[in-house]
Symmetry: C2
């Protein structure tokens, strides 16, 4: 195994280790979430489904890069996964994408009914912020700032804004720019969240190994560029996988999760240009990660991994 | 006008003043919430509907009692109103209560469609916590603690737990105890929230006029007793108004907001006993407020006002 392949193997194992740590931590964060009730069962069902945990694992990866203790960041990482999961539960509902399968299992509303699925999504979002407030009571201002970034990027300036644009784009001939903006909001925003949590926590814990103010802000800006470009590549890859008939499981459902009426970048510019753009966004992400030097190798591995995935 | 009537008039005007101040503050908190998009319009539509603003006004009333600056508390009060509003938007959806009217106007999903209504509720909940995180960055630990209480009481230990019980009780012969527990969660919890915000902020700002630790904790406990009993009386009154054909507008829709299948306390124990119990819960609330002496007069007025309301 050559040196690069060895480094990639290490990065991969660390990233999967983070993902596994998040999966193991999750049950302790939902112990009191209406256990025994249908709602409690729905919350558990959705959160314990086999997911890749990319967003929370990326949060811990960024914490490592910025010198923030991963244990300190765990509640924020779990909250981010809960926010991602709630968005999937609501997205799957009949009034949205009307999907029957998610992560290889029947969707929440198929198992627990629509009313409980609606409340389940609400409960996941609510519990995510409850966990962060609890952490912020312990961590002080930087915890509240991390929570503010989570809420901002999950909200109308981020993910929810993207979902709203998705609805608006339906059955339209939306151009590439509108679609890229939609992707930036609905997909990149929660990846940006992963970085933002680490950056905010770093302001009072570790602070990027006592770098200068300027170095710190440059590093923070690089996380935004990295995650935005990574999200665009990630979403275009999803679209390409959808048309090549190998639907995704990487935070995506087994079986198509897109309404046929949903307008995609691939439909707008063609598969060939879309594939070139996907590579170009991946390159930009990798370039942005250069500022972290050796510490950024896990980011470079992730960008390549998401580009090469087969599902 | 006798002395009591005069004091009640003052309390009433102060309470309505708080409600009006909240109504005037709301637009500044949703300026950037997807303005121009259908989602942004939906959020504005729901939040600017004529509501009585009982929960945020009660928050400010408790702040006054505990010596917390109302200006400091405003973001938390607005967040509480947003949480209440999101719960109404989702409750009204076809998979829940399937209501056409709310606060005298067509419900959100009737105007903007189900997909946007779903996202609108999500956006209101998300924005509520975003506002509180922003405030907590300013206010520090007590702000995060106020947020934690908001999330706890809006979650499965509170309002969402009550909504889940509501679904579970449907088409059952649920007994009085189960129904009262449901009411405590779905109605009392957000009133308790109003008090909890003031109590947590008071720990670092005003602290109940520098009372002793014991006095402070007694006062905090009294707020829980007051709001729990007030909520039970409030919800039973709603049920009674539903059967006397004078449906509510006090945070309730014009037109019935209950599915016919919804099990109520009035159905379980009869209107006569329900009316007696309602008065008894009101009395208990008033007794709990006694600990505040003269400062508690606005609470006594509110308890009487909610008992006597005609809609």
């Amino acid at each position: 195994m050559d040196k690069t392949a060895k480094a990639d193997e290490v990065s991969k194992n660390i990233f999967y280790g983070y993902a596994e740590a998040v999966t193991k931590a999750i049950p302790s964060y939902i112990e009191d979430t209406g256990s025994g009730t249908e709602l409690g069962k729905a919350v558990e069902y959705c959160l314990t489904a086999p997911g890749k945990r990319i967003r929370p694992a990326l949060t811990l990866a960024f914490c490592d890069i910025f010198g923030v203790d991963c244990g300190l960041a765990m509640p924020y990482a779990v909250a981010l996964e809960m926010i991602h999961t709630y968005s999937l539960v609501h997205d799957d509902m009949p009034c949205m994408d009307d999907d029957d399968l998610r992560r290889g299992r029947p969707t929440c509303h198929k198992v627990f009914g629509e009313a409980n699925a609606l409340l389940c999504g609400d409960a996941l979002l609510n519990r995510a912020f409850e966990i962060v407030f609890e952490a912020a009571v312990r961590d002080g201002r930087c915890g509240a700032a991390a929570g503010r970034e989570l809420a901002r990027l999950a909200g109308t300036e981020g993910m929810l804004g993207g979902q709203a644009l998705d609805i608006a784009n339906e059955n339209t001939e939306a151009g590439p720019d509108v679609l890229l903006e939609t992707y930036r909001l609905k997909t990149s925003a929660l990846l940006e969240c992963a970085a933002a949590v680490a950056v905010e926590l770093a302001r009072e814990n570790g602070r990027y190994f006592n770098s200068s103010e300027e170095e710190f802000e440059n590093a923070a800006a690089a996380t935004v560029s990295f995650t935005r470009n990574l999200g665009l590549a990630f979403q275009i890859k999803d679209d390409l996988l959808d048309i090549t008939g190998d639907p995704g499981t990487l935070g995506k459902p087994v079986g198509s999760d897109e309404r046929d009426s949903k307008r995609t970048y691939v439909a707008a510019v063609g598969a060939e240009k879309a594939a070139r753009d996907m590579e170009s966004y991946t390159e930009k992400a990798v370039e942005a990660a250069a500022v972290f030097g050796e510490r950024g190798r896990i980011l470079r591995w992730l960008a390549a991994e998401l580009l090469d995935r087969k599902h």
